[in-house]
């Protein structure tokens, strides 16, 4: 009897499910043992909850101006004080969590989608396609730090939306390189030859057999990249090129706090602590995920 790719597919869903369950159980056990990763995960979860519950938790309206209460230092009424327009900093930070997380996730999603497509195509097809794509990636990596994002913002104009696009493009090379490397390693394995021999199309091989097997480094990288994206976006807003006033974005709040650094340092203090702890959370969690998902990458 001639065995077709589709037949093989139909025979093994149960086995595949149980194998994947085992794999996830192992991963979960490893992650649970890693205390540092748990701390990171807890920090991220905390901020996710704050972002979701901001309308309920925030004691004041983040945009409401109370000039009679401007520059109030931290007190029982305003735990983190007020800014130069009398707005409650704690409430603004809570709403700002939504923006920071959104910028982090959306920009990483943009970078990840394009990076995966470019990396997998380069790695899978090889030859001139690989050369062309990787030279493009080399060029994008030749822009130091946030400079590429800055150049894109300069063309598109300052706004939070454009920051997401710019930071997303800035993340593409990192994902493309990792995905290409992993694809190269996986496509040489026997099972890929086997499904190809059974007549599976390139698309099926990539989507069903290569991508699921290279997800670990992608997930690790995505987690760590969210941290970088949040930092970069906050930096761009700090320079006045991202969120515009009165948006309660952390970088923009910090920039505002700079003008009152001597008279009311609390305005700059709290947004900085918020950015640092959230970024720390993603870094810790990303490191832990790396150890649990991909021990070879352990530093």
């Amino acid at each position: 009897m001639k065995l077709e790719y589709a037949d093989v597919q139909q025979t093994s869903p149960k086995q595949t499910a149980s194998r994947s369950k085992q794999k996830w159980n192992g991963f979960y056990r490893k992650l649970k043992r890693n205390k540092i990763a748990l701390v990171g995960g807890a920090i991220v979860l905390f901020y996710l909850l704050v972002a979701m519950l901001a309308p309920v938790l925030a004691p004041f309206d983040p945009l409401e101006i109370h000039l009679e209460k401007k520059l109030v230092p931290p007190s029982a009424e305003h735990w983190m004080g007020t800014d130069d327009k009398g707005r409650d900093i704690l409430s603004r930070l809570m709403y700002g969590t939504q923006l920071s997380l959104a910028v982090g996730f959306v920009s990483v999603l943009i970078g990840m989608v394009f990076g995966i497509v470019l990396g997998v195509v380069a790695g899978y097809y090889g030859k001139w396609i690989d050369t062309v794509i990787m030279r493009v990636i080399d060029v994008l990596l030749a822009f130091p730090g946030i400079l590429l994002a800055l150049a894109i913002i300069s063309a598109l104009g300052p706004s939070l939306m454009n920051v997401m696009v710019a930071v997303g493009i800035f993340s593409i090379p990192t994902f493309a390189r990792i995905v290409r490397g992993s694809t190269l390693a996986v496509k040489k394995l026997e099972y890929v030859d086997a499904v190809r021999a059974l007549g599976a199309s390139d698309f099926i091989i990539i989507a069903k057999h290569i991508l699921p097997n290279i997800m670990s480094p992608i997930i690790v990288q995505a987690t760590l990249r969210v941290a970088t994206a949040i930092l970069t976006a906050a930096g761009l807003s700090f320079l006045g090129l991202g969120a515009q006033p009165p948006t309660p974005e952390w970088g923009a709040m910090l920039s505002n706090g700079r003008d009152f650094l001597f008279s009311a340092p609390h305005i700059a203090l709290f947004p900085g602590i918020a950015i640092s702890t959230l970024v720390l959370g993603f870094n810790l969690f990303g490191d832990g995920l790396r150890d649990a998902l991909d021990p070879r990458m352990k530093k």
């Binding site: 060029v139 130091p144 730090g145 300069s154 598109l156 930096g235 700059a268 720390l280 530093k299």
Partner: protein, 306 residues
């Protein structure tokens, strides 16, 4: 080695051409007609057509790019819309400050990073190791613009040890260089630690110990020399984020360098200036990468054998 250097320089050319292409294409993304922008508000259609012709904007895109590359190769980066001065001369007046800042910061990155990494590795799992690695993790997570503000608040405003802003003396340099060098130092520390831990477990280190060589000599002379090889690459990569980071640091400390020039140019929509400055910084980064590759190769003879 000479063949390697020549080959690397030749490989650099397409990357540099690619950088000019990306910068050129990004500027094409600018909404609206650049001729209208350059002609100024209320310009007549004739004036706009004249500007378009003068700048070659009426030519096909490919031809515009070729002309742009030709100009760049001759050192002509165009004129600033704001000051009407050549972009290159504006950049050159600001560049030395940024290079000084970047050099001081990379020094902090290397010295602090390597020292912390070595201490951590030689005292693995002690309080010193754990505390240093926690500090390193914090260092990676702190936004450097915020760290800069906090350093100003504490060391300049409270303790009056350093000037609040500006550039020109050693004292002006300390806080900005610390601000910019910290996150790099944190990454270098983590890399040095793991690299040292691998090296100090090797046989030749055990042999040196067995021969009674002093621990300090073993660590700094025998182990560190080899442990630093992978660190060189990390330092090279850090130089990139450091160059990008000057934009934020110069803004925090009101330093008139290239980074601040870029931000001001973006705010003023002075696109030729943005284009020129981004190009110059990227070229510097590509050259630094070349230098790092050469250093890495001369340190690691095994690559040459392969």
């Amino acid at each position: 080695m000479l063949v390697f250097i020549i080959r690397r320089i030749l490989q650099m050319i397409p990357v540099l051409l690619g950088v000019t292409l990306v910068v050129f294409l990004i500027m094409q993304m600018v909404p609206g007609d650049p001729a209208v922008l350059l002609a100024g508000e209320g310009a007549t259609p004739e004036k706009i057509a004249e500007v378009r012709h003068q700048l070659g904007l009426d030519k096909p895109l490919a031809l515009q790019y070729l002309n742009y590359v030709k100009d760049v190769a001759q050192g002509d980066l165009g004129e600033s819309i704001r000051t009407n001065r050549p972009v290159l001369s504006e950049i050159m007046t600001r560049l030395p400050v940024t290079i000084e800042l970047a050099a001081a910061s990379i020094l902090i990155t290397i010295v602090l990073g390597v020292f912390a990494g070595v201490v951590s590795a030689t005292k693995q799992y002690t309080v010193a190791d754990i505390s240093l690695m926690i500090v390193a993790l914090l260092g990676v997570s702190l936004p450097n613009f915020w760290l800069g503000l906090m350093l100003i608040l504490y060391f300049s405003v409270k303790l009056h040890l350093f000037p609040v802003a500006g550039w020109g003396s050693f004292m002006h340099m300390v806080l900005p260089a610390l601000t910019l060098g910290t996150s790099g130092a944190a990454i270098v520390a983590r890399m040095t630690r793991s690299s040292m831990l691998e090296v100090i477990r090797q046989d030749y280190i055990r042999t040196a110990r067995a021969k009674g060589v002093k621990e300090r000599v073993i660590v700094y002379k025998h182990a560190l020399k080899n442990a630093l090889i992978p660190v060189v690459t990390v330092v090279g990569l850090q130089f990139g984020s450091l160059l990008g980071g000057t934009v934020l640091t110069e803004s925090v400390f009101a330093i008139n360098g290239l980074g601040r020039l870029i931000v001001d140019a973006i705010r003023m929509r002075d696109l030729p200036m943005v284009q020129g400055a981004v190009l110059v910084v990227s070229v510097i980064f590509v050259l630094v990468n070349l230098a790092v590759d050469i250093i890495y190769r001369s340190l690691n003879k095994r690559i040459e054998l392969n």
